[in-house]
Amino acid sequence: MRTSSEIETISKRATKAAGFPWGIAEEVGKNIKSLELLSISGIENLSLYLEQVKGKETFGPKEISKENNIKPNSFCPFYTGSALLDSASKVEEIKKLTLHSINFPILLIPFINRLSDRIGKKIKLQIDDHNFLLNLNKFIATDTNLMGLIIENAKIIKIEIQENEDSFKDKVWDQLYELSTETFVEETDRLKENAAGAGLADND
């Protein structure tokens, strides 16, 4: 088994060798390590992507807006991911944004996962028909079997910042709260007087 350290180092060097700057290669090294720790095929996607773009020009956004398009080209996941991460506050402000045509979008996922952590909010990510919920760089919920998944190009990527809201109904919470109160002791007058730190009256 390859270690995380080896995965990071080799991914970083390979990305540099394919023509990306060191700073981008550093980002990719961290990201591929994180994808592989999550059992998502980072190495496979990276290898195929680098093979495709080695020595060729790749494109990132020139600015981040609601609709992002660089027709007739497709976005590079590294430059796009870095730009989104760097522009975290702007992305949070925009809330919902769309990218049209991106190559190897699996390689974008760790950037968005880190973005979720930066912003402190969950992010819904849609890659064509695949849906993901990225949670503060801790875990990824998805309706897609990610094991071995390789997507060469996605036509539409949607990124939607989620507000920090409960994922459960108030009624269910109340039921659970009621159950939790069964660990409490009923306070008699004597306990009220003796068991608390402060007195009953506190008028000074």
């Binding site: 270690t3 350290s5 700073g23 870095s82 930066r118």
Partner: protein, 553 residues
């Protein structure tokens, strides 16, 4: 109260200053010995033939945690013995295994550990190393012991070790466990603990091996290596350029090491009333440490000159300061420090700074626990910050670097690269060698200077995110600037590619934090050192004194 601050990073983080650092109480092999005192030790397996070849296993235990050193000693033709990292065979190979190895584990390791880089270990292994015998002393020691004598003390002093390692690997290399698997372990709470453990146990193996061979040669008359001589043998190490990129590639870790030293010094200088016992401890260590200087052998002109400067400094310090000072003065250490800063060279200053820590476990020990780092926490670039912020950061933190003229060929004479043969870092002349287009990002001064020029031509009210969208070629330099803003000792404040570069200054910085002594440069790119010379033997650990490093024959 005098105004006592941390020393200025721009003065401390220069290559010449960092290349003048010495071991101290903060050094990892000393903090390891302090931490290792109450571990149980066992020799679980010792299957060596009469020539000393075979397998041995040592285990150490604390609470429910066990680590085992698995040793493989092999026959090696003298023509195959090389200190260079490019060697492919060694006299012995070692691995630190997590737990007690099964027979299957030992068989698996026997197939792989002696091959080192071309072998493969698993997440159950933590650190890996190899070592060669010191030809000068090993045979002499075995011969002497076999004939019932102890080895000649002069030879022991001259060499100082039976074996010399050429690399100690950890943290995910060649299949070893990644750092994340072990970083939360409470019994190992400092940097490079498991590397230090491996080297310490290897030292024990070297003693057992010479005793075993001597006994095999002459079962009736052989004697054991005396404890006094064994104690004064450490483990040698040949270190090349591999360590140099490490300190550039781990900026927050570097900061934590240097900051701990600076914080210790600041706290010591801030002591208003120095206790007589503490002062005596300083003086005692200072006196004993001078013996190390006198037994420091090297053929390197560079190092000989440094030793001369150090000796001159220490003599000056003794005659002009120590003999005349007033013990009852307030803030004695601060006055002493201000004197040495004014009167001594960098060698002398840093030597005495290390000495000042000796009486103060209460100051040093809490700092040792803060010398690791979670680098990933500081990796992201704050893209919302403004270009004007970044300009300010560079002007504040890199002002010395901005004075370097990187248009001059002298200032960019060298480049760092990774060799294809061995995947190891190298440095070469840009104008004489091929490959500078594959330069590693280790010329931080040059790149920050380039970044600064580009930022000056960019709108200062734009965000870093906007700047990076068209300037990602300098992304690595931008990242470092935001790191140094929070970690002022994270960066070497010098040119790492200039014609005057002495790479061993970078090695010495790291090795001093390891606790190495007797730096012996073999060129400007590699050196030999000694680790654990004077350290307590395993059966002495419980009662050891932390000043063992100054004990000598």
């Amino acid at each position: 109260m005098p105004d006592i601050n941390h020393r200025n990073p721009k003065e401390i983080m220069t290559l010449s200053r960092l290349g003048s650092f010495y071991q101290s109480k903060l050094s990892f092999l000393r903090s390891f010995i302090r931490e290792f005192k109450d571990w149980e030790f066992n020799k679980d397996l010792f299957e060596l033939d009469e020539s000393g070849y075979g397998t041995a296993v040592y285990s150490v235990k604390k609470n429910s945690r066990v680590y085992s050193l698995v040793c493989f000693a092999n026959e090696l033709n003298s023509t195959e013995r090389s200190d260079r990292v490019i060697a492919t065979k060694w006299d012995a190979a070692f691995v630190l295994h997590d737990g007690i190895p099964t027979k299957d584990d030992i068989e698996r390791l026997k197939e792989n550990v002696p091959k080192q880089e071309v072998g493969r270990v698993s997440y159950k292994e933590l650190t890996l190393s190899r070592a060669n015998k010191s030809v000068r002393i090993f045979e002499h020691t075995v011969d002497a012991l076999a004939s019932g004598q102890q080895p000649d003390e002069t030879i022991v002093k001259d060499v100082g070790y039976l074996y010399r390692t050429t690399a100690v690997y950890g943290s995910g290399k060649f299949g070893l466990a990644d750092r994340y698997r072990i970083k939360e372990r409470s019994e190992i709470c400092g940097p490079f603990r498991l590397e230090m453990m491996l080297v310490y146990l290897v030292r024990q193996f070297t003693f057992d091996q010479v005793n075993h061979i001597a006994k095999s040669r002459n079962p009736t008359s052989a004697v054991k290596l005396s404890d006094d001589i064994a104690r004064n043998l450490g483990i040698g190490n040949s270190t090349g350029l591999g360590m140099a990129p490490f300190i550039v590639n781990h900026p927050t870790l570097l900061h934590n090491w240097i900051y701990s030293r600076e914080e210790a010094l600041k706290q010591i200088r801030s002591i208003e009333k120095v206790e007589i016992n503490d002062f005596n401890k300083f003086k005692e260590c200072f006196e004993k440490s001078k013996l190390n200087i006198n037994t420091w052998k090297t053929d390197s002109e560079y190092q000989i000159n440094k030793i001369k400067i150090l000796i001159k400094d220490l003599e000056h310090f003794e005659k002009k300061y120590l003999l005349n000072f007033e013990f009852n003065e307030k803030f004695l250490w601060n006055k002493l420090y201000l004197w040495i800063e004014n009167e001594l060279s960098e060698e002398g200053i840093e030597y005495i700074v290390s000495m000042l820590m000796e009486p103060y476990d209460n100051i040093v020990n809490p700092l040792v626990e803060k010398m690791s780092s979670e680098e990933d926490l500081h990796f992201d670039i704050p893209g919302e910050r403004l270009v004007s912020d970044l300009i300010d950061i560079i002007q504040i933190n890199y002002s010395n670097i901005l004075d370097i003229d990187f248009n001059s060929s002298e200032e960019i004479a060298n480049f760092w690269f990774i060799s294809k043969n061995k995947e190891e870092p190298r440095v070469a002349n840009r104008y004489e060698e091929e490959g500078s287009e594959l330069e590693q990002p280790l010329a931080i001064a040059r790149d920050v200077s380039k970044l600064f020029k580009r930022l000056k031509d960019y709108s200062s009210s734009k965000t870093i995110a906007e700047f990076l969208m068209s300037n990602n070629d300098l992304r690595h330099a931008v990242r470092r600037c935001f790191i140094i803003e929070k970690f002022p000792y994270s960066e070497i404040q010098d040119n790492t590619i200039g014609s005057k570069l002495v790479p061993i200054d970078m090695l010495r910085l790291k090795l001093s934090f390891f606790g190495a002594q007797k730096f012996d440069p073999r060129s400007d790119k590699w050196l030999r050192i000694n680790m654990y010379q004077g350290a307590p033997l395993i059966n002495e650990l419980k009662n050891t004194d932390d000043t063992w490093i100054y004990n000598r024959l």
